[in-house]
């Protein structure tokens, strides 16, 4: 599908790979298949059956799990007859004194605020389209923003951090996993599933095709 011949087609029939600038003719791609850039292998198109509905459902589930994960007890620690339950909220407030305060904000942003913002943004963009309506107002800017904050939503990195922390306190005290821990694990799995349904270029093409004007 590389584009080598003279430019007789109109520009809208072509696509330039965002990662390497390789010029391609927009291919016909079957549902479930994907087209990759011949030069760098970046996925250019990956239409999926009911992708929008699935993204909306998964984002909503993730949102509910996140609320549970933040406020239910996350881990419980006990030793020498002393016990302490802590939630994700407590982990965020761990840095709340003095110099460490900015770090508190950063942790809150990375593990809670940005993931939630991303889920809400994706629901806003995809829900009207999943229902067959025209895209919501400013859907393009909202989607661009959602893609922009993607690397900064670190729920899955946090889970590995929890695992390491558990090993570190294992010698010091007994640790029990709370319900919020499992909510968080579910959240991570759903986030990975959801991102697999999303191909950026395909989403832009759909947004463009469905927009009025």
């Amino acid at each position: 599908m590389a584009y080598h011949s003279q430019m007789t087609d109109s520009l809208s029939d072509m696509i330039a790979c965002p990662k390497c600038d390789g010029l391609h003719r927009v291919p016909q791609v079957d549902i479930g298949a994907q087209a990759r850039c011949v030069r760098c292998g970046t996925v250019l198109m990956a239409p999926r059956e009911g992708a929008m509905t699935r993204i909306v459902m998964l984002s909503m589930t993730a949102l509910i799990l996140m609320i549970a994960a933040v406020f239910f007890p996350f881990l419980e620690l006990s030793t020498h007859g002393l016990g302490r339950k802590s939630s994700v909220f407590d982990a965020i407030l761990a840095f709340s004194d003095g110099l460490m305060l900015p770090l508190s904000f950063a942790v809150a942003a990375l593990i809670v605020v940005l993931p939630i913002t991303r889920f809400v943004a994706l629901i806003y963009v995809f829900a009207p389209m999943a229902l067959g309506w025209a895209p919501a107002k400013h859907a393009r800017s909202v989607f661009k923003f959602a893609e922009h904050i993607r690397p900064w939503a670190m729920a899955e990195v946090f889970i590995i951090g929890v695992a390491v922390a558990l090993v570190k306190v294992a010698g010091l005290a007994q640790v029990t996993l709370g319900p919020a821990f499992w909510a968080f694990v579910g959240l991570v799995i759903i986030t990975v599933l959801k991102d697999n349904f999303m191909c950026r270029v395909t989403v832009w093409q759909t947004l463009n095709a469905r927009s009025p004007s």
Binding site: Y3, H4, L11, M14, I15, A16, C17, P18, K19, C20, D21, L23, P27, Q28, V29, A33, Q34, A35, R36, V38, C40, G41, L44, L75, L77, L82, R84, D90, A91, I92, L93, F95, L99, M100, P102, L103, A106, V107, R140, S141, F143, K144, E147, P151, W152, M154, V157, I160, G161, V164, A165, V167, V169, L172, A173, V201, W204, Q205, L207, N208
Partner: protein
């Protein structure tokens, strides 16, 4: 028809780029316009064939990330108090502690996330930026190096989260308490700065041949 599997068929031929065809492609959504068009009508992004200012940003953020990585390793990351005795441990010290407890797997994860990944990221980003500045055309392996760097950066945040969780969880007054050290802040900053540096890259620059000096 799927494009899968066709990748090998045309690898030998040089690929026509949008720039060589006198066009400009959108770095966000891939739509193609005549060179000189200002903004993308599909996604609203400003159109540039090659973002030459990106290298300045790459270097600036990379340098900032390297500078704050030094205090991150010198100062303590964790302050552990058990029965009145306070112990401070640095990033590398924490790795040795885990090994002393026999948790070699976890020690390896922390060592990778906090030392190997940040340092290799500094080297990889600098290497790619220098190549671009010398006008050397890159290959698919240079691009994959960039993809790995871009993907892996966020995983370095693990140790910061470990400190946050431990500090929240282990607050048992006299028996045991864990508090964050100043290195937690500088390490978090280092990871963030290097992520911004990697994200500032315009990957299209990696491929360019010397004769294709940006228009």
């Amino acid at each position: 028809m799927s494009g899968d599997g066709m990748a090998n068929a045309e690898r030998a031929q040089p690929v026509l780029t949008a720039r060589a065809a006198g066009l400009v492609g959108c770095a966000e959504c891939g739509h193609v316009y005549q060179l000189g068009t200002e903004t993308c009508t599909v996604c609203g992004k400003r159109l540039v064939s090659r973002d030459m200012t990106s290298l300045q940003r790459v270097w600036a953020w990379l340098f900032a990330g390297m500078v704050v990585y030094i205090p991150a390793n010198v100062y303590p990351m964790l302050r552990t108090t058990t029965f009145g005795n306070t112990q401070e441990s640095t990033i590398v010290g924490g790795v040795f502690e885990l090994m002393d407890h026999g948790s070699y797997g976890v020690a390896l994860i922390v060592f990778f996330a906090s030392v190997i990944i940040p340092v290799s990221k500094f080297i990889a980003i600098a290497y790619l930026a220098i190549r671009i500045q010398r006008g050397k055309p890159g290959t698919a392996s240079h691009f994959h190096l960039y993809e790995v760097v871009e993907f892996i950066g966020r995983w370095s945040m693990i140790d910061v989260f470990v400190v946050a969780i431990l500090s929240a969880l282990v607050q048992l007054n006299f028996v045991a308490s864990i508090n964050p050290g100043i290195a937690a802040v500088s390490f978090a900053l280092s990871v963030a700065f290097t992520m911004i540096s990697a994200n500032s890259f315009d990957p299209r620059l990696i491929w360019d041949a010397p004769e294709g000096k940006p228009v």
